[in-house]
Amino acid sequence: MTGDEDAVDLRSVGELLLDADLTSRAALWETGPDLAKARVRTYGEVVEAATDLWAAIPDPFNDQSMNRISSLADGLHRTHQRTSWPGAGDADPHLASVATSLARTAELVQGRRHPTAALSRPAQLDAEAARTRLMHVVYVSAHSVGVALNPYIADLQRRTDARQSIPRGDSLTRARDTRERIGAIERLAGVALKDRWPSALAGEHRDQAWPGRLEQALARWDLQAHRTLAAPPTVSNLAVIARLQQNIAVATAIISAAGANQGKLDPATVARIRPTLAELDRTWDALGNDLDALQGRQRRRDDKLVLAGGEVRAALHEITHDRTGLATPDVMSDRVDLQVAAQQLHQSLTAAVDLAHVTRDALADPELTVGARGAHELAQASSAARTQAAWVDAGSLHQNRDVPLPHPVHDRLIDRADRIVKAAITADSASTALRQERPRSAQPARASGRHHQEREVPRATPPQPGIGCER
């Protein structure tokens, strides 16, 4: 771990395990003879920490897989002590980090769980998922040792073949022996994972939805989408925006319906909004389908846009979904305040009107190019009744080069965008009533430490925006 040694590691069990898993995989990309001895030295610590954690995780079936691995690692450690190879020296930073994360995880699990407490079904599944990820860490870490030992052995073999001396402290025999024995550990871990990875991770516990996550994710998305479209537009970025906006429209309908079901929102208002959201979904979907078809070689997307979109998706998914389908309104209601979530989403519809306009402008940009094959197909589909003209030259078509928008495709995309703008304005207008709804489950105000603010005399006029901020 880096940073202040006194700093408290606030990561959860799940975060620590995932970090150990990713760090062990990162070790696989660093290979070379110089890393071998440090990695062999440190692998014992990984197994020791993993064994402690395995023992701390409740297991009704008393799976002995890790104990067998621990026995092999102990035997290897005794051999290393006896033979003084690899000897004292630095630890491998990746595996040291893995061992530290696992040790911290063991502390957390040991500290929270009563040794004889019965486990609920979700807790059993979570425990099984944790054991699976832990075994995967041991498996990948063992592989990383082998990956480092291979060039080390090859290097020493080359020296031996050339009758050169082997550097002091190195040993071809010991290295080969270690590779065999760590290979056996890897195989044992692989067998233990065979029917578990990644299916057993399905039971991994997920934290409750964080109330502010959705609002922040929507705000960041709106900002990032505008920033991305301020640069020269690309079909791939426009396609992400279309799909994300479609997703927001779908989720808004789902959460609003759940809110009405739970008595958090006025059912009549929600019923009025539903068709406008369905139309918004359809119009973004239609544009998304066209843009998907038009993606040529410019498949790369703004990574910040993808990141912001991923956060919105995750924030919505943790509210609306349960396993492979939609969560019930009861379950959604347990996760978040549905009225607040619905209002945040309906507020984002106002911002979506502007984004729809900006999207239209981007589609009208004369510099926008599209994949030749998609352009040809869409142009044919859009203009087949009028003409049989070739809209894309044969060379571009063959190479699927990026080409300017053919007229029929341009007109088609602008028509799609116009429909989106219209649908966005209608949905925004329809949801005005919902945004102004007062909390339905609000408790009567009680005396609290906020008297001073509550007694503050309202300003006669609202504060005016500063120069340059008027909008």
């Binding site: 990713l22 990948v140 789902i254 998907d292 993808v306 998706r313």
Partner: protein
């Protein structure tokens, strides 16, 4: 197989993973018209394909056009296509796949979990 050949083969597989994710997204968006619950996972596959593309050299983007998926994938559901993408990542040791593949594979595993319970 030499290291360079193995890595070139792994890059081919990675392009196949991307193609499977793109197809999963297309199927998901198509089926979401009847089942809105699919829209979120389709978007997940779509965004993940972007993250996967980022790991490849930009000068080889045109090779993505040449990926031909097995005919049996045409009848697959979104969940099956995502599972096929995850299965494809297992064909190579992780160190042969592009740097950063771990994070994408973990996210694909999450998506498999989301869509196939």
């Amino acid at each position: 197989m030499t290291g360079t050949t193995a890595q070139a083969a792994a890059q081919d597989t990675w392009r196949e993973v991307i193609a499977l994710l793109v197809q999963a997204a297309e199927v998901g968006y198509r089926d979401a018209a009847a089942n809105p619950a699919l829209c979120s996972s389709a978007l997940g596959a779509d965004l993940l394909s972007s993250s996967a593309i980022e790991l490849l050299p930009p000068e080889l983007d045109h090779l993505l056009d040449d990926v031909v998926l097995e005919p049996r994938t045409e009848s697959m559901s979104m969940a099956e296509l995502i599972a096929a993408a995850e299965a494809a990542t297992r064909r190579h040791p992780i160190e042969e796949l592009p740097v950063g593949a771990s994070r994408v594979i973990v996210d694909i595993c999450d998506l498999v979990r989301e869509t196939s319970q």
